[in-house]
Amino acid sequence: MSKTYVTFINPQKNIYENLRDVKLSAGLSVALAKRDITIRYVETILGKIWVIINPLINLCILVFVFKNIVNAEIQNYNYLLFVSIGLVVWNYFSSVVADVSNLIINSRFLIQKIYFPRIALVFSRMLVGSFELASSLGFVVIAFLYAHAEVSPNFLFFLPALLISLIFVLGSSLWIASISIIYRDFVHIVPVLLRVGIFLSPIGYEINHLDKFTMNLYFLNPITGLVEFLRWTLLKGYEFNPLILISIVLSLLLFGTGLLIFFKVDNRLADRL
């Protein structure tokens, strides 16, 4: 019993206590993520192969629908390559966000019995998503080899672009997790949004030909900017659309406000479930 530190328990946590929770949740987030990855594939016949199957199916469906049925043409680039990069962002976003509205509610027994920094639940889901992200990235590499395409010199910005996507996904997750606790309706709204979202984001098609107004509307959806950003860092000669900056700013805002709203909901969380 060497290090005894005092904890003050007040009706409301202040912002410093909340931020300290974030700091303390690091180790637990990793433990939770490890546990979830283990549990996910336990007693499945295919085991961890499922990590590859889901993105593969997404890729096949998009290629089939847009290339073979709609006949969408991508100028200058191989279609498979173009779509696989878009799917990196989309798969990450959809796999995390689909779970996050139920995440807190499903952990209610834990939350009502043991204290731990609850924000770790959201962080851990994001880490699990990052594990799946690796397989999406694998498909990009395969697509590059298949298309014999050259990598853009903007490759240096690849990691920052991925990081912004991460922040965006985290921000949306915090928002959706928090709102779903107060309004359970979101448990039903999120799957609908995801079903529509994949077609309203330029994952399987180009948006270069759109008029200015529609283009601006498109970039209000941060996924548009993040996908375009990632393509610019990888595809040689891909045009940098300045509207990408709007998406970056929106992602950062979403993250900041997401943290704040989660802290607010966290205060009476155990009583709300």
């Binding site: 904890t7 180790g27 433990a31 546990r35 549990i39 019995k113 009476r268």
Partner: protein, 239 residues
């Protein structure tokens, strides 16, 4: 030196909680608000007491007296509506630890996961692992998923995890009503051992003799109000 200071703590609960909010309620907002005040009740009212480091405190009171609410606030699961608590060190609840177990994980994996829940590092847990394994008497089953355990094994593991994972303050809530009598004896002697080590223990039990023999002091709640907080001897004179 105090381990816990409870300072004018109150907790209000509502019959209507936010989860019951729906469109119908939105249109009947006014009516809901009226009911809302009616539906509120105080589970704890203006409770103040201190617990000294290294003492074993018996928390007593009938069902609905606010014991569980108080424990929830001390273990930080829920916040007080008014007042403040000051707590020195980590708080762990003995049997509740078992609720963090996942049925598909092995006993060993669950031990490590629960340590992380308590905020321990991997190294800290590793150093306790052998003791936990020995105390729980689970043996080779430790590598099997806990869903294959008998309820007795499950409880023993939960107790062992809670008892050995590092926390300065330990909450023991009706624990000794589980397990067979041999294991109960073992738990009891372990509680005494923890007491000797200088750990602060909060014991909840309806077993008066247990309270009398183990506890240094008593906190007595009735209908959310504090009726007595002080040495066990004086408490026994009062009732």
């Amino acid at each position: 030196m105090n381990a816990i200071e409870v300072d004018k703590v109150s907790k209000k609960y509502y019959k209507y909680d936010s989860s019951e909010k729906n469109l119908r309620h939105l249109f009947k907002q006014r009516k809901v608000m009226e009911n809302f005040e009616d539906g509120a009740f105080w589970a704890l009212e203006n409770v103040s007491f201190n617990i000294e480091v290294g003492t074993t405190v018996g928390l007593v009171g009938r069902n609905g007296s606010g014991k569980s609410t108080l424990l929830k606030i001390i273990s930080r699961i829920t916040n007080p509506t008014k007042g403040q608590l000051r707590i020195w060190g980590r708080v762990a609840s003995l049997l509740e630890v078992g609720t963090g177990f996942h049925p598909d994980l092995s006993g060993k994996e669950n031990i490590f996961f629960n340590g992380s829940l308590l905020g321990m590092t991997k190294l800290e847990i590793q150093s306790k692992y052998d003791q936990i394994l020995e105390f729980s008497e689970i043996g080779d089953f430790i590598h099997m998923p806990v869903k294959k355990y008998s309820s007795g094994m499950y409880t023993r593991l939960a107790f062992a995890v809670g008892a050995f994972l590092e926390s300065e303050i330990l909450i023991i809530d009706e624990v000794l009503e589980v397990g067979d009598s041999t294991f109960q004896q073992k738990c009891l002697s372990h509680i005494k051992h923890l007491k000797d080590q200088g750990r602060t223990i909060i014991l909840v039990s309806h077993n008066q003799t247990l309270i009398d023999t183990v506890c240094d002091s008593i906190v007595y709640l009735h209908k959310g109000k504090l009726l007595y907080a002080g040495p066990t001897r004086d408490y026994l004179n009062i009732i």
